[in-house]
């Protein structure tokens, strides 16, 4: 349980690592004045402009500099303002950061973290709202994590900075200014890449991550009122995926629904569904369901955005389908 807001908890985690290890530096646009949302606010005051470095608007080279600095003695954190801008940095990330350890036959490590925020929230439109985590989960050599609460923000950013592989650290801007619910079970987690069962249930497993975990919990309460006991799992790590925790749960509940904000087509839910049906087919009593955004660019109009973004009601409707109810 954390009384801190997500953004403050995240900043605390970064500060603690920067104090502990002088090799940790931050590259990004406006990071010395807090970055786009204030995550790095105040860090330049404590650590100076040689460690919290404002860059030009040059995403590909920000990423490439971080790769170069990481194999030449630093542990860089890159801030990319919006997930949508990752498109500008893909060559350095995909062709170099992800592959250097492998291509060098283990000669080199690339200990860098790419912090990036995403989410359709508030009518920012098609170029500032996309959830593109599946792209990175498709690239061998990148770890991908997406904390869903303030306590994890600190735990996971510290683990990401300490990791010797490149880590894509996905923040949802709808979480930045939220605090954790008092009953969030955060103390039972053991590893960086371990999923967490955040609500026990017996009839259906709902797997989610990032902001959608909160929606899954709301949906679970709504389902409980209709006599369906839902277990909710916060995946936390998208690469690698903690399959044993998922399989254990599905063996108990015999039903699985994956919920994410990204468009459903080609999304992470498809991968999870494929792996679970292979590992636990005999335990399933219903086809695996997915909830995600429709296959359309994120709209700007708030009325359309509300239609686009998955919510608890859509999760409830999907679960009811699995039980043959409308």
């Amino acid at each position: 349980m954390s009384q801190e807001r997500f953004i403050d908890s995240l900043r605390d985690g970064i500060s603690e690592e920067m104090r502990a290890d002088p090799r940790v530096i931050i590259f990004g646009e406006d990071v010395a004045v807090g970055g786009a949302f204030g995550v790095t606010g105040g860090l330049a005051d404590e650590f100076g402009d040689k460690r919290v470095i404002n860059t030009p608007i040059s995403e590909d080279t920000i990423m490439g500099m971080a790769v170069g600095a990481s194999i030449a003695g630093k542990r860089p954190i890159v801030e990319i303002m919006f997930m949508d801008f990752m498109t500008l940095a893909m060559s350095q990330l995909v062709n170099h950061a992800a592959k250097l350890h492998f291509m060098s036959g283990g000669q080199l490590d690339v200990p860098m973290v790419v912090r990036v925020q995403q989410g359709a929230q508030g009518g920012w439109g098609s170029q500032h709202s996309q959830s593109l985590e599946a792209w990175f989960a498709h690239v061998p050599g990148l770890k991908v994590v997406a904390p869903g609460n303030a306590a994890d923000a600190k735990l996971m950013i510290r683990a990401a900075i300490q990791d010797d592989s490149p880590v894509i650290f996905i923040e949802h801007r709808g979480l930045y200014f939220k605090t954790d619910p008092d009953d969030l079970p955060v103390n039972d987690i053991k590893g960086f890449h371990e999923a967490r069962v955040v609500r026990q249930g017996s009839d259906v497993t709902i797997v989610s991550y990032s902001r959608m975990v909160a929606d899954a919990l709301v949906a679970a309460e709504m389902l409980g009122a209709k006599g369906i006991s839902a277990e909710v799992i916060d995946l936390r790590s998208l690469v690698p995926i903690d399959m044993p925790t998922l399989i254990d749960s599905v063996q108990k509940t015999s039903r699985l629904l994956i919920a994410h904000e990204a468009v459903m087509q080609g999304g992470l839910g498809a991968e999870i569904a494929a792996q679970v049906q292979r590992e636990a087919f005999d335990y399933l009593d219903a086809p695996i369901e997915r909830v995600g955004a429709p296959f359309v660019p994120v709209p700007a109009s708030l009325a359309l955005e509300k239609e686009f973004v998955p919510d608890p009601a859509k999760i409830v409707a999907a679960v009811k389908r699995m039980f043959g109810r409308d």
Binding site: P56, H96, L100, H101, K143
Partner: protein, 342 residues
């Protein structure tokens, strides 16, 4: 400038260039005369040895080097052994990258060669990032990145030189422009074919980066210029841009490298008219080894017999390197998933 290197150093430099040339010939041999050793595309550094060696001679052991698809020569110029280079090219476990890099990506951390990218311009941002690391660690290292003239057409190049200049980083951008006819290698106006700028150096000059043009086929022009720039970069005067002008080896004109008229004959150096007609003007005006060897003989630094003896030794060393490579184990299939994460 001619006295920048001792006679012994000049002879050692020619030997290294011959070794670079002969090792690349073995790569071509593996691609053309050995089934299934090199099945994909590959590139060789023949005809540019003076440029890579001249730059590497200026560096110290702790400096960083970044290179391209034409990396084999750079790695050997930097002091890499041709055996592990060729073994890497053919994907053996005794290659520098244990067979995970291949011809495009020979990496040798112990030589400071941190990345060899097949992405045009891919290493330029990384070289700048390493230079940033150097500057904040307050060491006197230099980060030198080799690339071709096409890199100036990539956006990442412009982003990266901007940051290097803004932050005055110890990085040397070594642009090997191998598209220049012999008459264009002399300093002066020479247009580039696919860049709107009149000259390549107009671009870094616009970013307030001190830029130089050098005849890349003349190691005794490249080495002293780079020695000076490396010292100045260590003193915080960087970054620098060098356009090293080279004339393309005729064997590099097609889709795959081709040894026109067979392996290089050292006799061609003394009499280019004995070579294939397609090579004669290149041997006369542009081949770095022919130009350097003739000059050393004319100046009395070496005799023709000594050049020929060194070439025979380099050829033997390259042949041994190929044998070392071919003797290397093929990676075990079950090791295919190694090295994904640190």
């Amino acid at each position: 400038m001619a006295t920048a290197l001792s006679n012994a150093a000049l002879r050692a430099a020619l030997y290294r260039m011959l070794l670079m040339r002969r090792a690349e010939e073995e790569v071509i041999d593996l691609a053309t005369n050995h089934e299934n050793e090199i099945r994909g595309h590959y590139h060789v550094y023949i005809g540019q040895e003076s440029s890579g060696l001249g730059a590497c001679l200026a560096l110290g052991p702790d400096d960083y080097v970044w290179t391209t698809h034409r990396n084999h020569g750079h790695v050997i110029a930097r002091g890499g052994e041709p055996g592990p280079v060729i073994a890497e090219v053919i994907g053996r476990t005794n290659g520098y990258n244990k067979g995970r890099g291949g011809t495009f990506h020979v990496i040798a951390k112990h030589l400071g060669i941190l990345q060899t990218s097949g992405i045009v311009g891919g290493c330029v941002p990384m070289a700048v990032g390493a230079a940033f690391s150097i500057k904040t660690r307050k060491t006197d290292q230099v980060s030198l990145v080799f690339f071709g003239d096409g890199v100036l057409e990539e956006g990442a190049f412009h982003e990266a030189i901007n940051m290097a200049s803004l932050w005055k980083l110890p990085v040397i951008f070594m642009c090997e422009n191998n598209s220049v006819p012999p008459e264009g290698r002399e300093q002066g106006q020479y247009p580039s074919s696919s860049l709107a700028a009149t000259q390549l150096i107009d671009v870094p000059n616009a970013m307030n980066i001190e830029s130089h043009i050098v005849d890349g086929s003349d190691i005794r022009a490249v080495a002293p210029l780079l020695s000076d720039l490396v010292v100045r970069a260590r003193n915080g005067e960087g970054p620098f841009f060098v356009e090293s002008r080279l004339t393309r080896w005729p064997g590099n004109m097609g889709a795959f490298p081709e040894l026109i008229g067979g392996p290089y004959q050292i006799g061609w150096v003394w009499d280019p008219s004995t070579a294939d007609a397609a090579l004669q003007s290149w041997l006369t005006d542009s081949d770095p080894i022919a130009l350097f060897a003739r000059a050393l003989v004319e100046e009395g630094v070496m005799s023709k017999a000594e050049v020929e003896a060194d070439d025979a030794k380099a050829s033997a060393e390259a042949a041994d390197a190929k044998a070392f490579a071919l003797s290397g184990p093929i990676p075990e299939p079950e090791s295919a998933m190694d090295y994904i994460f640190a």
